[in-house]
Amino acid sequence: MNRYLSLYASAAYAFLYLPLAVLAVFSFNASRFAIWQGFTWHWYVEVFRDERLIEATIHSVEIAICATIFSTVIGTLAAYAIWKRRARWLTNSLYLSLVTPEIVTGVSLLAFFQWIFRFLHVQLGMHTVILAHISFSIAYAVIVILARLRTFDPALEEAALDLGANEWQVFWRVTAPNLLPAIGAAALLCFTVSFDDYVTTSLVAGVNSETLPMVIYSLARRGVSPAVNALSAMITIGIGTLIVAAEGLQQRGARSRP
């Protein structure tokens, strides 16, 4: 039976990885179509020549960096406070925001922004996308940091308090340094979640805020373009590396516990 299981597991992993692998392989295909006609870098060159793609990449990176900084800081502080003493309503609403279908998050934010714009003279754009991304990334940051805090020994904090440190000094000089790997992991996770988001972004984006996933979406709808394959391969490798790094940081944080 174990032999069947391992055979099945190989097939399952193939199912998970083959589509992405095939996409990557065909990004080097000289033909526009799905027939192999020799190796080429052409589509990669094309990606880097495409001004719309370059601009969208810059937007995506800017948005992801802003959203990451805010949501990691806010999430770390909140996780620490929740760890000290439960804040039911906040944890519950964070979990609720996680299970809310993305399309609902998107349209509710769109309606909210449009309602706000009745009073303020602003339009949809980069800032609305960043706000939306902060709102859905915080939950991820809180979860990662909380997971690390659960393995953190509170005796360290008590010792610091006994030795005369105040609450803030305890957090800043004792707990936060111990959390650094987890904070790094949370930041990487927030970055990838923000960088990859399409549904919410497409609803709250306005003029001059087209992101990379939005371009990929419109190209994918239009039909075959091997440049999209090349772009997808690069993003998948890049994001995959970030995720592996985040996992590594989390493991390291967990191992260094006293």
Partner: protein, 275 residues
């Protein structure tokens, strides 16, 4: 409450209230207003939008979303269980589990696009079949319900494997040894002992898969073409093309309510099991 706690909690609280609670509240209000000429909403207050949700046309979309989500969840369960079992029995559990989760963290859009590349009329599968002279005309693999289910299963399989693994890993191997000593074959032991004992993991996994499947938007949009419309597409359409914000809001809230009902029912059942 200490000042530090207030300072630490308030940023998250402000963001959650301003960018989650209030927007949902606005949707609630909009669902009870009338449709404006160019999108947006106007007075008077009305429950017309909720009445329209039960129009046969829209009720069918709700039903279809339920069916597609249920099929995808069952397939995830069938496909995910042996995989979780394999990982739980393996020596390199962490690595294997991370390998399941890794694709989940990479772009959902790109993973969906990968299937478009495979399934299109001029896609890889049709090209290979044609060059082998197995078919003359390309098979209509993309833009149908099957493609949507495939995309959903592909997208959410990790959500099934994770909780299943967590349950299976905790099972006492002595149970299997005992069954074997008493003459059960590995298959019988798995079916009669492991499967019933991993029910809580199955429930959790099904919940984690069913909820995002029910609210799916991108998968039916890209893989289903114009034909397969699920609730998510209906919501998006009302807010963009159709410009009927009150109706879109009503459908959003209905979707949200369905998710909450399923979540609460499952959670209460699970806590009963724990007792």
């Amino acid at each position: 409450m200490s000042r530090l706690r207030v300072a630490f909690l308030s940023p998250a609280a402000i963001v959650t209230i301003a960018l989650f609670a209030i927007p949902i509240g606005i949707i609630c209000a909009y669902s009870l207003l009338s449709r404006g000429a160019y999108g947006g909403v106007i007075l008077p207050w009305t429950i017309e939008s909720y009445r329209r949700v039960f129009d046969p046309l829209y009720a069918e979309i709700l039903w279809r979303s339920f069916v597609l989500a249920a099929i995808s969840t069952s397939l995830c369960l069938i496909l995910g269980f042996p995989l979780a079992l394999y990982i739980a029995r393996s020596k390199r559990r962490t690595l294997l589990l991370n390998l399941v989760m890794l694709p989940f963290w990479t772009s959902f859009l790109i993973r969906t696009y990968a299937w478009m590349f495979l399934l299109r009329d001029t896609g890889l599968i049709n090209t290979i079949l044609q060059s082998l002279h197995l078919i003359r005309q390309p098979l209509p693999l993309l833009f149908n319900d099957g493609a949507v289910v495939l995309g959903l299963v592909y997208g959410y399989l990790p959500f099934m494997v994770l909780p299943l693994y967590a349950t299976l890993e905790k099972l006492d191997p002595a149970l299997l040894d005992a069954a074997r000593d008493l003459g059960a074959t590995p298959w019988v032991a798995t079916w009669k002992i492991i499967v019933p004992l991993s029910r809580s993991g199955m429930l959790a996994g099904s919940l984690l898969v069913f909820i995002p499947c029910l609210g799916a938007y991108l998968t039916p949009d890209l893989l289903g073409g114009g034909k397969t419309v699920m609730i998510g597409n209906l919501v998006q359409n009302q807010f963009t093309t159709a410009r009927d914000w009150p109706f879109g809001s009503a459908v959003s809230l209905l979707l949200m309510a369905l998710v909450l009902i399923i979540l609460l029912r499952m959670l209460s059942r699970q806590s009963e099991q724990l007792l």
